[in-house]
Subunit: 364 residues, 4 copies
């Protein structure tokens, strides 16, 4: 039990169910003296919010955040920051029929097995709505990392088999928030959008790949041997519901490489030690080496589809079928971008404090 | 700081450097009453041991374990189990020249950046030798899981681009320990062996993919939302030095699938709810569903190669070259198998105790 | 940083400042299936509430709790339980003058030193108001312990030098909630009440001693060697603002005893091993022995008094005087009773789950 | 389970049984760059060692420590420091008869209840011998604290009812190590010694009180609201086997004081804010205020006495008697001094790193 907290010193606890009265997060261990307002958090929640476009769920929640503690006169005080978002657009009725028929690919069955019963409305605790708390906390982590010039960038690199070629940091910064799939290549983005709509029209869904970069992380961040930076990133990202795979740097390509190709040669550039390539993804031995940190995650197609699916009736113990109603994203990739960025930010904030790169009190 | 422990209730702490006097592990939280002897642990260490074949390093350490506490009259007492392995076959001389020239792909540079100086002999703490403690602890975890019939199986599925097709559980059980690459398909194993030797003769190394299965894990194991079973497996496996990618179930293939393909349909078989396919890899919403748990890891080619490589001299701050001497595995995949199994066993032991599946005192 | 959580598996995180918008708590790790409603929590909050009598602060807050998550259809779901209490009767104006003049005996000075600035209104995070979250969580812990028949009883045994002689369990159960000082001996209670009023009329305050008993704790609860039951009780109780001393069993009297007096002889009574005396206070080697667990805490006199006191002006760096306005308890002992009970309940709930005495899912 | 680690970032794990092959400790999270040798640790172990005088047990163990990891070229590397002490002077035979007859005041009974069986030789894990690991780790913590000029001083203030009046810091520094009871007042020390010998000659034992001071701790150390400095000190000290009570500053005297007496007035002295008195014991709101930190612990009389005592036979389930043989300290106070100092040092090292007062890498 007790798995709803994340981080060692910059520590997030989330709570709340999809159709309960509210959802929220408590951040403990944020250094004192960080300028912070509800606007900072709201901006990130708006990026995650449902109903942003035709490729996301039409559930129309404004998701307005209220900061209840830990901030005084516009700055963090070093005490826990509690954030609350009331649930508004809740249609619990459609879920009544899911009480005993677990949706394939969902956590309905496993929650029932684990806890003996569950809040089945809207997926309860296992709903993607839980990520509201992550994004809210991630907004604080990003603001904190910004004091050290660290930047987190997420973008969609593959959807339904369509993938981008190389994109530049500038393209990511410029284009990602301008198209509904959050792809840095605007032409590819349009193709992806059509692929998503195609799946949607079939009552189906599609998966994809999201990349997250962390720029300007200084060398020396990460704690061997178990709390390696890449190990904690892997946990952080795999803890997001739809993620089935993680790569750091070359990832699975590394399995096909020779050592002479994989090893990034060290070179001195402008007085600084850098590597010529970045197959390591910015991490060696679990510690950052100063190069961009690069992660990719495999995002499965949304489990909720309107096509008929085989399942069981747990009360009658018979096989049956299910057709899921309700409102769902045909492709979760675009909305996973801010969530994945948040998780990476949380890991880096935690590790940079642990390593002494960010002090426990910020001087203004 | 302080990242050398793993697990919440079944908790491992490892210590030791490659060329220090010894290396070891302390396991805290092992239930009382588990039959345990040094033989149980030694058997797993022998699987990890260097010098097993021509495809592994010739460093010839017997790696004899001594249990120093926590076992009385052949059973665990519920108190910490301390295990010690003395380092024997140590050739520190060859490392002297690495003091200021970090090896590409190694942790030399990042340890130097993080700690200001380092034990550079044999990679010090960042050496793969650190995994001795993991395998020793994993042996205890496996024994504990065995009381609930849970079985952990690891095997090499790809080396240097050569991959196995489907293999059966029986093939894995029967063949893996009989060939030097630990591949379940004996014909493919022979091809892989030659590929490794080819790389070795070129002074190079190659990577591969290892799969780890956990059988008979009951439904309900795992702790949402951050300590999801897959999240903790991802951390556990990514914390192994050479791992650059992780997949659970369909992994990156999921990114190319439709929801109607990916979702595993529930069916009742013999009174038990099972799924027809296992794209989920045995885990839904971070909780086991009773199907086999399947993980794959991308293993990079061994960083230590004898070919000349570009690097820098940190004392003189100039570019230079390095040619690594010493004894190294041309492909680490075979020896990573027991390490990866150990990490999976540690996660499962921890989570099965946390979830109440294994009691804190075993009745004999 | 990051010290606002308590417990290992039954884990409480509190947040909130005295004069912020709200105060609250998140409980993670409560077993699923426990019947729970807001009434259960409210009953304990009402015991802690200010304004109960003439010996407590007249600050008149209703302290109405709202449960925001983790409970469904009247039972806990195994997910985090978030509880919220809005702050109502807030008079921040009187605190303006305390901005730079730390109150003697208060945390004003140390918060300022630690964090560089602070929410000075009403003591901010260091206010006794923070204990709202503890009492709310303690109510859940008590309900959980009740499933195993464990009962927690607190009572005031000394106030301003007036102390009770021996009182029975029955007296405690019957009398404590019936008098404003929460003393089990009604005659002594009346004397104590007068002593408190005397101090109040002088603009002063007085301290006392509170005893907390835990009945029906089975033998075997507690985790050596650092998480001993008494060690965790000591931490729990010392973490309450006004506590300066802790005793388990004979406590400081043990220092004056001989081994032959101190050692509680074992005897078999009704087939059960018990001890003739209980100098150990129900704990041997950090593990419960089945006898009542007995703790006593020394409660200092309330720091806020209206008498003039010497202090400094931190902005001008000169010595000065302070006369504290606002509304304060002349003796905090009666209101510390439910807080101390809550802390003991939290420790026991946590340890009974850790030791397997309470399952992670309760069967109904 | 899993209670054998202490501290959050400077983290100690101890292991080992009284009559097992060895006993030891692993310290994780010690900053890199601290000069450290086995001599530093041995010096503290020698202070704890049995057989130092006629008032301690004659068990004659040299307790030679071996550092197995984490130190390179005379400095800590930032990796775990593993320390090992072989058990030598072991007389297990005398304990055979204790297998089923728990010694009053000992953990024999509760270990048996908790774990179902136990290593009964010499008390096994519950033996005071476990404190070897604490003292070894404490030696490192002290060395680390020394880099910030923090000094830890322990001394015996009461034995068998005989107590010292006021003693000065100088007396403590000068006299404590020169007399067998570790009392700072040499005349009182002699009286105490006789009292101990008197108890010994009767086959009995006596208790006492030990005070521990921490000097030069800067203001701002400690983490509200649960990890308050005094709360962690209370846990640390109460986790020592024989301790039954803890006081910080005025302790139980505070219960009898008025607020106007208890509150330490702030004054500026030499440009620094100090308090006129130190009833708070250097801690306000769980955070150090710059004054000396003062703790007192009540030490119970040694449980092992040679007088006949009532107990039970757990196998036959009948009442019986026991007469304990073996070698035991008639008064444990003198030998608890280095143990208590170690625990205080561990708490302060941990909190000073957490608060950023000690960096994670020390510059030489």
């Amino acid at each position: 039990m007790s798995g709803n907290s994340f981080g060692q010193v910059f520590r997030l606890t989330t709570w709340g169910e999809s159709h309960g009265p509210a959802i929220g997060a408590v951040v403990d261990g944020c250094p004192a003296g960080l300028p912070l307002s509800e606007k900072d958090v709201q901006a990130e929640l708006d990026r995650r919010r449902p109903g942003q476009s035709e490729v996301t769920t039409p559930r129309g929640e404004p998701d307005v955040v209220e900061i209840l503690s830990g901030v005084f006169e516009g700055k963090t005080t070093g005490t826990p920051i509690s954030m609350l978002v009331r649930n508004k657009d809740v249609e619990s009725g459609v879920y009544e029929e899911l009480r005993y028929t677990p949706r394939p690919g969902h956590a309905d069955f496993t929650y029932e097995m684990k806890y003996g019963f569950r809040d089945y409305r809207g997926g309860g605790r296992s709903s993607a709505r839980e990520t509201v708390g992550r994004v809210a906390a991630g907004a604080i982590a990003k603001k904190l990392l910004g004091t050290k010039n660290v930047e987190i960038l997420g973008h969609v690199v593959e959807v339904g088999g369509i993938s981008v070629g190389g994109v530049t940091i500038d393209q990511i910064r410029k284009n990602v928030e301008k198209n509904p799939v959050r792809c840095a290549d605007v032409k590819i983005a349009e193709k992806m959008r059509k692929r998503v709509e195609g799946a949607k029209s079939e009552g189906d869904s599609i998966g994809g790949v999201v990349e997250i970069l962390a720029l300007n992380v200084p060398p020396g961040v990460g704690e061997p041997v178990f709390d390696k930076l890449d190990a904690d990133l892997a946990k952080a990202l795999m803890s997001i519901g739809a993620v089935k795979g993680i790569e750091i740097g070359a990832g699975f390509r590394a399995a096909k490489m020779k050592g002479s190709e994989m090893n990034d040669p060290f070179r001195i550039k402008g007085g600084v030690v850098m590597t010529g390539t970045n197959n390591a993804g910015g991490i060696l031995g679990g510690i950052s080496n100063g190069m961009p940190i690069t992660c990719r995650i495999a995002v499965k197609p949304t489990s909720s589809i309107s096509k008929a699916q085989k399942t069981v009736d747990l009360s009658k113990k018979v096989n049956t079928e299910i057709q899921i109603k309700g409102r769902h994203d045909p492709c979760i990739c675009p909305r996973i971008v801010p969530v994945a960025e948040a998780m990476v930010a949380l890991v880096l904030a935690d590790h940079m404090i642990r390593g002494g790169f960010i002090p426990t009190v910020l001087k203004s």
